[in-house]
Each structure stands twice: as C-alpha cells, then as structure tokens.
C-alpha cells in the first residue's frame, strides 16, 4: 500500500474550439514522509498534477489514490501552497493564518496558541496584528506556509513557492521549509523548474517532458544528501554529477 499514488492520470484542457493535452498517462506513487519534486519546463503540466491531487480540478482520465481511497474533491488532509503567497490583504497576519481553521469551524483558543507558536518558529514573532502589506516577500511566503500548516495536512503541495523571491531569501526559506517539514513529519510534493532546488530539497525527483506532459525519468537523490540542509547539499561533492545528469535529461530533445 502506498500513501499517495497516481494511476495513469491524463488531463485535457478544453476551450471553446480546441483542446490541449496537459498530462498523458502519468503514474507514480509516494511513500509517507517522502519529499518528492516534480521538475520540468513550463507548460509540462506539473502544476496541473498538483491541482488534480488537491482536488481543485478533476482529471479527464485515471485515478488518484490517497491511502487507497480515490480523491474526488478537495481533501482536508492535503494542504496547498501557491507560487505567490495570496495572503488576504484585508486580514491581519493572525487572521490570515487562522483562515483554514475558521473555514473549517475549528477556530479555538488552542488553534490561536498553535498559530502563534508556529509563527514564532518560522521567525515571525509579534507580527500577528500587522497587515500583509507591511511584510517583505519572504516573510509573506512564510506566513502562507504557516497558514497551510495550521490545518495539519498530511501532504503538502508546494507549487513553486520560492520562485517569486530573491536568491538569498529563497535559500533561507528552502532551509526553513525542509527543516519544518522534517520536524512535522510531512509528506510533500514540490513543483519547480529550478534543478538545484529540486536536488537539495527532495528524496526523489520526477522529471517531466513538455510534450505531451509525461514523465521522462525519475531520479533518486542519494541517501547522504537527503539529510543535509538544502544549503549544504549544493556544496556536496555529489551534487554536480546529479545536476549534470538532470540537465542532460531536460535538454535531450535540444541536442538530438
């Protein structure tokens, strides 16, 4: 039994007078506690995979099984974090963070304390009454992460959450996220087009082909890299070889 598995998932986007294939027979499975990256050029359907797992769009064909049960609609055990933070500008930080519990009717004193604790853990103490507009991009993305963690999802879907940040902030946030997810024993799927990010954060990397949205290769990240922080993985002697290998895979169409 696998934790989460996709079985021959295909997806078509329909417009009024045409259609495009976003995914073709995508199958993979993920074990509990694993961190998997989906890497590929833009337009390869990687975000579509996340939307399908999140239950926001319905796949045209195939099955998504979560603990052997098919996912039909948005599942509360799955948390979704978007490319931009999408904090609600009219809500204070604490109200943003408590959005999930509020929607689910679980807004108690306990969740408030939990929120304050996690905010402090990610390095944002005493900011709960500020509005998002007074925070920097990195801080806002951290708030968005806390918001996602508040509903205690078992799987986190991360849709290029660091791509809108500057390089330094991005490296710091990668460290923080990978540490946090390890501490909370979360399973995560990260979508990215950054090879370094994929290698340094994940246990396994699924490489996608742009046309017509299928898996071209799955790369295992060596055990000794998995326990390092993303920052140190990038300086590990084995890093460059993996990077080159993936680079070749991504560019194989261009060289042929």
């Amino acid at each position: 039994m696998s934790f989460l598995s996709l079985k021959k998932v295909s997806h078509l986007y329909f417009t009024k007078d045409s259609y495009t294939r976003a995914l073709a027979d995508v199958s993979f499975s993920i074990a509990k506690g694993e961190f998997v990256s989906i890497l590929g050029p833009s337009g390869c359907g990687k975000s579509t995979i996340l939307s399908i797992i999140a239950g926001i769009i319905k796949q045209t064909e195939g099955k998504v099984l979560f603990e052997d049960q098919p996912i039909t609609e948005t599942d509360l055990r799955i948390g979704y974090m978007l490319q931009q933070d999408y904090l609600f500008p009219w809500k204070t930080i604490i109200d943003n963070v408590l959005l999930g519990p509020k929607v689910q009717g679980k807004n108690t004193k306990q969740t408030l304390n939990k929120a304050l604790n996690i905010l402090e853990e990610v390095g944002l103490p005493k900011l709960e009454n500020e509005y998002p507009s007074s925070l920097s991009g990195g801080m806002r993305q951290r708030v968005a992460l806390v918001r996602t963690l508040m509903t205690d999802p078992q799987i986190l879907l991360l849709d290029e959450p660091f791509s809108a940040l500057d390089y330094q902030t991005k490296l710091k946030l990668e460290n923080l996220v990978s540490q946090l997810l390890k501490n909370y024993h979360k399973t995560a799927i990260l979508v990215t087009h950054d090879i370094g990010e994929a290698i340094s954060m994940s246990d396994r990397i699924i490489i996608m082909d742009a046309n017509p949205g299928l898996i071209s290769k799955i790369v295992e990240v060596p055990i000794e890299l998995r326990h390092e922080t993303p920052f140190f993985v990038r300086r590990h002697p084995k890093y460059q070889a993996i990077f080159d290998n993936i680079w070749k895979e991504l560019n194989k169409d261009a060289t042929e």
Binding site: A54, I56, L76, Y80, F88, P89, W90, L99, K102, V103
Partner: protein, 269 residues
Amino acid sequence: MKKSQTDAVLFKRHRKQLSRERKYIFLWQIIIFIGFFSIWEIASRLHWIDPLLFSSPSHIYSLLVDKIRDGSMLTHAKITLFETVLGFIIGTILGIFIATMLWLSPRMSKILDPYLVILNAMPKVALGPIIIVAFGPGYLSIIAMGAIISVIITTIVVYTAFTEVDENYMKVLQSFGATKWVSFKEAIFPATLPVMISTLKVNVGLSWVGVIVGEFLASREGLGFLIVYGFQVFDFTLVMASLLLIAIFAAIMYKFVEKIESMLIKNKA
C-alpha cells in the same frame, strides 16, 4: 547633528510650500464662489438678464429665510431627502444582492445576461408612469424611482467586480474545504469592497435624478414638486432656491459616503 538640522529645515520649507499651495487653491475656490453669485446679482439688478426668469441671489436668499422660518421649506426638503436616502439604500443593497445571487449561480447569470443588458440600456426614467400606476402617486413610487435607477447598474458593476477577483484566493479557500458561500464571504466580498464604495458614490447622484423626476411626475410635496410648481406659477426664485438646496444636500450625501469609504478601507496598502 548638522546634517539633521538642515534636513529639518528642508522639511519645514517643504511643508510651507504645501500649505501655500493649499491656500492658493482655496483662495481661487472662494473667488469663483463669490464671483459667480455677485455677477449673477449684478446682472440681474442691471437687467442684463431677465430677473423674472433668472431671479437673483438676494431674492433667493430672502425667500429661503422666509420659507425656512415658517417651516414649509424644511418639510419639503425633509421629504425629498428621506425619499432619496431610502431609494439610494434600497437600490444599492438590492443591486449588490442580485449581483451576489448571480455570482453564486453562474448558470442563472448566463440566462439573465441579455435581460440585464436590455434593462441597463433602457432609460429607467421612462418607466416613471408605469411605476406610478403600480405603486400609486405617493412616497412609494418616488422611492421606487430612486431605487430602480441605480439597481441595474449596481448589479452589473458589482457582479463584474466579483468575477474579476483573482481566483487564486478561491483556490486557497477551496484547499481548506470552503463552500462557495464561505468563499464569497471571506474573499469575494471583502476584495470588491472598494468597487462597491465607488458605486455608492455614483448611486448618490443617480438616486437624486430618480427622486426628482419622480416628484416631477406625481407629487404634492418635496423639492422636485417645488421646482415644477415654481415653474408653473412662474416663480423662478422658488425654482432656484430648490435647486440650491438639492445641490447642498447632494454634496453632503456625497461627503458622507466618502467618510464611510475612508472608514472601511483604512487598512488598504
């Protein structure tokens, strides 16, 4: 130390410049105000314009003082103000309510789309006689006029704003398992608050149009009635005085909406 001193001096100079600019603008506003009324007064006294048709500020002033003293003007003004405020509130709330229904049911919005377009294009004032027949010649039809003139445009503008809210906010809510109604409450409504406030501003003007036209058509009271009455008995001082009051009340209502706006949109970046 020295640096911060010069900074302070520069800041002082900047503030002085700002306040000078403000004074200059205010001065010209006063000049236009006084100039307009004095030219009107002089033109009327020297018979450059017919004083019977265009009256004069001094006549209007003394008429207003008389009518306010005997209380008759206030009764009329109160009635019109009441009708306008009510028409404005009903029109706006009903418009936002219909827009909400349309947003909650995309199919309904598609079905109703051509009808909204037609209703919007139609001059609502032309419905006056029908409204009076339906509601009787009284407050009710005048309030209905004030409301109906703004309801369709409010519906269309607010509904469009609803559909233009970034759908990623909805995605966030959806991932927490939010229903459509909860998404509306948490994201759509607060995100479109600024648009709704600006429709309020437009609706202030529209409701006055509806109510005054309504009073033209069927009324024994109100400022619109006074205008028509003054026209019929050839008392243009009365017409002008009523107009002046309408202008003042409309401006006050507009300012009031602006106050609400600054209260509601405090925390916008």
